[in-house]
Symmetry: C2
Subunit: 346 residues, 2 copies
Amino acid sequence: MKTITIKDVAARAGVSPKTVSRVINSESYVRPELRATVQKVVEELGYRPNAFARELSSSRSFLLGLFFDDPASPYAADLQRGALARCRELSYHLVVEQLDRECAGWLEECEASLRAVRLGGAVLTPPLCDWEELLDLFERYAVPVVRISPGDDLERTSRVEMDDRGAAREMTEQLLALGHRDIAFVQGNPTHHAAARRLEGFRAAMAAAGLPVPASRALQGDFTFRSGLEAAERLLGGGERPSAVFAANDEMALAILVAAMRIGIAVPEQLSIAGFDDSAIARMAWPQLSTVRQPNFEMAATAVDLLTHPQRAAGSTTPETCLLPHAVVMRASTAAAAGAESAALS
Amino acid sequence: MKTITIKDVAARAGVSPKTVSRVINSESYVRPELRATVQKVVEELGYRPNAFARELSSSRSFLLGLFFDDPASPYAADLQRGALARCRELSYHLVVEQLDRECAGWLEECEASLRAVRLGGAVLTPPLCDWEELLDLFERYAVPVVRISPGDDLERTSRVEMDDRGAAREMTEQLLALGHRDIAFVQGNPTHHAAARRLEGFRAAMAAAGLPVPASRALQGDFTFRSGLEAAERLLGGGERPSAVFAANDEMALAILVAAMRIGIAVPEQLSIAGFDDSAIARMAWPQLSTVRQPNFEMAATAVDLLTHPQRAAGSTTPETCLLPHAVVMRASTAAAAGAESAALS
DNA sequence: ATACGATCTGACATCGATGTCAAGCACCTG
DNA sequence: CAGGTGCTTGACATCGATGTCAGATCGTAT
């Protein structure tokens, strides 16, 4: 199959390649009739400019990079769907990269990648959105970056985020409204800053209600199912157990749920459980998990928007921020605390 | 940051760019000493050839496409991890594309993509590995294709697969060995050919045991959790219920599990449940799902191998087949049938 | 009529690599 | 010694687009 190049279009339209280039890039200074003619030929031939050639000559690239730490998590999957959807609307393409900080030479390898494939922009997801060396790298290569839910150096790049703190606070308030007083929190991976903000939100709500949060009620987890199981063991294994557990993501919440069932604790009658993310698995559990809907899809799509929309007007550099709305979703894994006079539902 | 080009290397090594090109492509006819010198300069400068320029001049591309129908499924996530891992080993890069057959003009859009971004190869996952128009398209553009678990036209391209039929048969045999006689099967999405093969395996095992499979025991599903719930409703809602259910993937198995718990059927005491895929969620359920481990990660990695390893020796065209091993994994969601004298464990 | 700016257009070099080809050289062979 | 043959190297064109710049055209103010 012969490739259709800009020359083919030019020849057929009776103009020079440069003029065709002007038309497809909607530059000014082309006579309207000519523009129309060229436009028509482009359609007829179904011509698409070769992205590689374009990037070579203009160092403007139509490839965006999506960088993950763990591309297999449901969270990553949602982000990817969002980025992908927007990319195709804009006829950009998405190159997925996985980075592992444990792996020696990751930075060099990433740099090598950048040299080999010049990207038009990069979306950095947690936790690597906070790896300083990585930000430096992109800066050196002048690759525009948008970060999702970053924790540090907020002004350094454009970013897309949600109000993790507020959302966690709201969820906690819901639990309080259900009459729970002894609530435990299972923290997320400490390298994700969002994890810390969720804990803050929890603490804030508890403090506002005048309730203490002893160390034994703020367990460390790392967003994995396994870490949730470990937390559950400490929490439900012996001693007095809380009447509700709020986990910083759904996978850990699910682990608490599974552990509870294994021991024979009824959910939500004896124990309320809430998660965070509203990932697909939240609805695949029984009972279905109460959780916070995080707009992952939209966040990634917005990130792509920021990368592609030339906000160059401002001389290329006012990092923008987009705050996307969340929603607390109460399902069946939470209920009024046993023996509590049901508090007013705010 | 100034980009390091082949000329920089050439100048520093005191040779022509062409010679550097020869070295980095390990072509023959370069004096060993010279080769070493150039090699050294390449290292010193950390030179990486620009993938775009390379593709432009040689029409050999270092970008592979990974094509999905639904990139958010756990199955897709596993495949992607595998492909990604292998790509980075080989310094290839992975462009992810999502295709939706419902979306009008999908084929044209895909063609436009191919023209814009010339791919060095494509990995097609189910179900789009069986879309004939798509195969035609790649053939027209001479893009090498490897399909994962295709159903039709097997000889048309290289492929990577597992023995779905055999695996389903083995799992069924396990259930039979546990004393189950009334076993229901929940089928997968009929557009995935693997779904049909799994059903065949089930039927074969049942037939071998001299057991009938009435229509009411082979329900239609489509691999989604929701379809599993619907199947469960018909299966457990009323009338005589089976003693075991084998679902064609884990998500549907999980749905059966959830439905059973909701109605108060004890698993595995009153109902055994088996899934297929061994996706992450199989271990996040309680009880943990018995399932078939499908080597998704390895399958995708192998697909990348096939695409990149120049099996050009054979004049470019003996499609290869790789059959990867599976494993039946019995966990806690299955047990001996109630009241059955435990049959011999084969 | 002349000059001038604004609009249009195309020739040509360029991006960074590889394909082609021919030249240079050493080593045989007859 | 003429004439291969095989190895080694670089000059130059090329891939498909865009940047630069100069030339052409037109209307209009001087």
